[in-house]
């Protein structure tokens, strides 16, 4: 078990709260809420240790496309980077729907 924290500068305000994903191996749960400052805060709790750089790269890529300020809580059960990216996209869709 590892807990990672990241903070990124953001420019826009995020719309609504979103909760996506599944508690189960190879998957993850994401809780996304509007952030009250001009930053995106990400907290990741993961069952797989040693992938901090991979998480940072996936998040940077995602936030490059979606610069909205948000508090993102991730509960990971060994999802692949592809699954993480898909779930982040799903969270954005849900927060805008």
């Amino acid at each position: 078990m590892e807990i990672l924290n990241f903070q990124f500068p953001s420019s826009k305000v995020k719309a609504r709260r979103a909760h996506v994903g599944v508690v189960g191996s190879g998957d993850l749960e994401i809780l996304m809420e509007p952030s009250i400052d001009d930053a995106t805060h990400v907290t990741i709790q993961t069952s797989v240790t040693g992938f901090g750089d991979t998480w940072k790269a996936v998040l940077e890529r995602f936030l490059g496309q979606h610069p909205e300020a948000a508090s993102i809580e991730i509960n990971d059960f060994g999802a692949t980077p592809g699954t993480v990216a898909l779930r982040l996209q799903q969270a954005v869709e849900e927060s805008q729907s």
């Binding site: 979103a18 189960g24 191996s25 797989v48 898909l86 779930r87 799903q90 869709e93």
Partner: protein
Amino acid sequence: MTRQIGTPHKFRPHDLVWIDDPRSFIAATPTPTPAWVATTLAAELVMVVRRGRVSPGLIPVGVRGSARDERFAGAVASGSITRRVRPEDLLSQRQEPTQARRDAMPALEGFYAVMSAWADLNLPWGPVGSVGFELATGVPVATASSDLDLVVYAASYLSEQDGNLLLEAVAGIDAVADIQVETPQGGFSLREYCDGRSLRRRLKTCDGGARLVRDPWSNA
């Protein structure tokens, strides 16, 4: 009504297959094959059919080691497969774990509880993951913290209401039940399908990828 689309081969993801010779296994990546793969295959020549794109005549498979991160992808020629056990076969024929083992592993015990709870279910289903592997091979891979991974084959539409009935029936077991529904288009999480949160949900597609879809039975 969704039309049943024929699978390119008769093997489906989650099936367990036994092969004639360890040399029939073709590694998916050119990287050196880890030592545990040979050790595992020397003990039992069994692999799990996975999702993925391979050449015609080949079946995408994975070798399952004893540790959680020991998974190795490859392929086998369909002609080298000598035996196949589908998840639903394990409802009637399996290597029975001892009662002591069932008592120690909530996922194993949970499987027996689900068999009673879903006795009237008229869709094919069965255990996959560590529980399915153990019941098929007798190799004790389930642990005290294993999820109970199950697959339900729904060739045509399953309503969220019916899905919720399935989830409610397994809510009482001690292990986490992770239920995957397989449609002709791919597999999705029943829990996600029924939680009503997202318009588009994750579908693991037959080529090994995943996408967000509104209707897991539609090709669109």
